[in-house]
Symmetry: C2
Subunit: 191 residues, 2 copies
Amino acid sequence: MIKTNLALLQLMDELSAGEHTKSAITLRHLDIKQKLIMQDQTLQNVYIIKSGVIKCFMTEENEKDYILDFLGEGELLGEIEAIRHKTAGCTVEAITPLTVYVLSSTQFRHFLETIPAFNMKVLEQLVNRVMRISEKASRHQLYTLAEILPQLLNTLESQQINFTKQDLSEYLGISVRSLNRMLKDIGHTAI
Amino acid sequence: MIKTNLALLQLMDELSAGEHTKSAITLRHLDIKQKLIMQDQTLQNVYIIKSGVIKCFMTEENEKDYILDFLGEGELLGEIEAIRHKTAGCTVEAITPLTVYVLSSTQFRHFLETIPAFNMKVLEQLVNRVMRISEKASRHQLYTLAEILPQLLNTLESQQINFTKQDLSEYLGISVRSLNRMLKDIGHTAI
DNA sequence: CTGTAAATGGGACAAATGTCCCAAAAATTG
DNA sequence: CAATTTTTGGGACATTTGTCCCATTTACAG
């Protein structure tokens, strides 16, 4: 459930140590609940998660939130905005203490053009994201909560992070009430 | 509602005329309802729509379909599979007569590596797709049909294609019955 | 440790949506 | 053009999910 991209993380570890590239890369730490990116904001940087987990969500005009994904190590953030030259499409908030590699958008585009391995990793990152979001949307449309929830609970057991019910329900695109109801029906023990 | 990518189309027009590149690009025509890509199939090619419109949908194990998007001129198909080296994630079916540029997956990857403009266009295509799918998923979770449908009908008016109710409802992720009910409530005139 | 805020669990009812079904209209085909 | 299939429209009812609300529990700051 928490997506990672260890190949990209490894590449960033190398670049941040590499002679010609390390000066372009800095680190930043965030506490839990701090926001790395705010929706509609203009971004100057691109981030790659070194450690920790974030939630990436969109807030619609009716003030409701939809959690697109939970992202962990090696996941890329802000690349959409850097490539489209648009403001942020979603808000990114730390749900554990977080460390990210910081790269200016300009530098990011420069890396894309000059480091083939980087370019390839970003392409892979993007296509994986398209797949993941598509599958999530599809699954959510075509299955009932009763079918999806057990799988999700299963996946959750292997993560050691405490998700709030709020987060879980926003991820599932349902109300907390519905989540509770279904959890009770399933006869869950704990989250 | 029908996504296009005229910049990529233009580039393909140029490449298919270019001295060194034209031999790698062929054309293929499909009739309405013919499938260009079948889910779970292994793909050898990447396609760029020259003219016409397709629907791109996923079929879940419960036999239900979810229409991800309707794509028109200049849109890229099969790139996900070419980059991930995986089987097709969705089925692509012509909903109008269709002409596509055909490029082998190998050649596609080669273009990515050797033609910077092509690489950039593909990156842009991918980030746009991530945004579009995300926004669609979010919108669908957070708004009721009554809020979404009028907008969609509005958009539909500007397209001259006849969508079936089936297609529309699969795009919206609802049953045909619900779509009809809502259309009646809204007091629509025609699709 | 205590008070305040946040998160959880669930009752009661309303609203939205699905399922099943059938009849009318439209499109397709031999 | 008649026969058959597909598409459309909608009734009736079941199910799912949301909204509103409140009591209890848990977390957190002073």
